[in-house]
Symmetry: C2
Subunit: 135 residues, 2 copies
DNA sequence: CGATTTGTAACAAACACAATTACATTTTTA
DNA sequence: TAAAAATGTAATTGTGTTTGTTACAAATCG
């Protein structure tokens, strides 16, 4: 199955930004159309990154910890730490082949710079911009 | 396991560029450290994109169809068509939630532009540059 | 104290990817 | 023309990843 953590996390953050208040994991799960436990797992990651705060007990839930204008999709991306967009082969090289011997280092650098390019783009998209598209 | 088709394809193309001639799928598989059938499947995709040509029969194999300087990693990326770097949720929206109702369109646009940013970066890396790093 | 919610572990189900086997087809060359 | 060697391709299996689900302790509010 494809990794949807980033999409789910953005959806959760957009809902929190849109509401401006506290939402519980059950309601967020309904909006994302998934399980509350899946939501709570993501909220933990977002909390670790300082993007949300969570509250136990009655009337508990989660809410943003920064202004929507101060949170970018790159912040969310880095918070959930999805697998690298380009997977580098970790296999043993074929000793007699110069290409095989150098590919790991080369692809590692390519994967890193490609991901940085994508993250730089995500940095330009703030939650505020997203919420403005909702209404 | 994460999708390694792009990494494998770049490795194959780098080997073909480095050699300059015809290499069979068995030898390429040894360099990549995978199965010849996996290599042949990728060669089919690369051929469809016009990047290589393949030859059946004795002394068959594959070779580049363009100069290494005229092939970018974006060409290879587009040839193998890996899954989108950002997976958009395809689930049914929650009708009463405006966030849920708009997220699909919003995330589709985000995923597309993010991928384009990454592809634009890959377009700057030619096979020739890669081969120069090998030796 | 009772109701409600998060935090978290443990396990099951669904899915994607690569490896492998097998064989028809194509091509070379002896 | 026949043997050898390579690709093209389908089908199946194995392995790992991700999500769903259940369960329950801890925390919080009224």
């Amino acid at each position: 199955m494809v990794n949807q953590q980033f999409t789910f996390a953005v959806h959760i953050m957009a809902a929190l930004a849109f509401s401006g208040g506290i939402i519980d994991s059950q309601t967020l799960a309904q909006s994302v159309n998934t399980n509350p436990v899946v939501v709570r797992r993501l909220l933990l990651a977002l909390r670790r990154a300082g993007l949300v705060e969570t509250f136990s007990g009655k009337y508990g839930g989660a809410r943003l910890r920064k202004l929507a204008g101060a949170i970018s999709l790159r912040d969310i991306y880095d918070a959930v730490e999805p697998r690298p967009v380009i997977a580098v082969s970790q296999r043993k090289a074929w000793r007699h082949c110069p290409v095989s011997c150098r590919m790991h280092a080369i692809m590692t650098s390519v994967a890193e710079s490609a991901e940085d390019a994508m993250r730089a783009h995500l940095a330009d998209v703030t939650l505020k911009k997203l919420v403005r598209q909702i209404g």
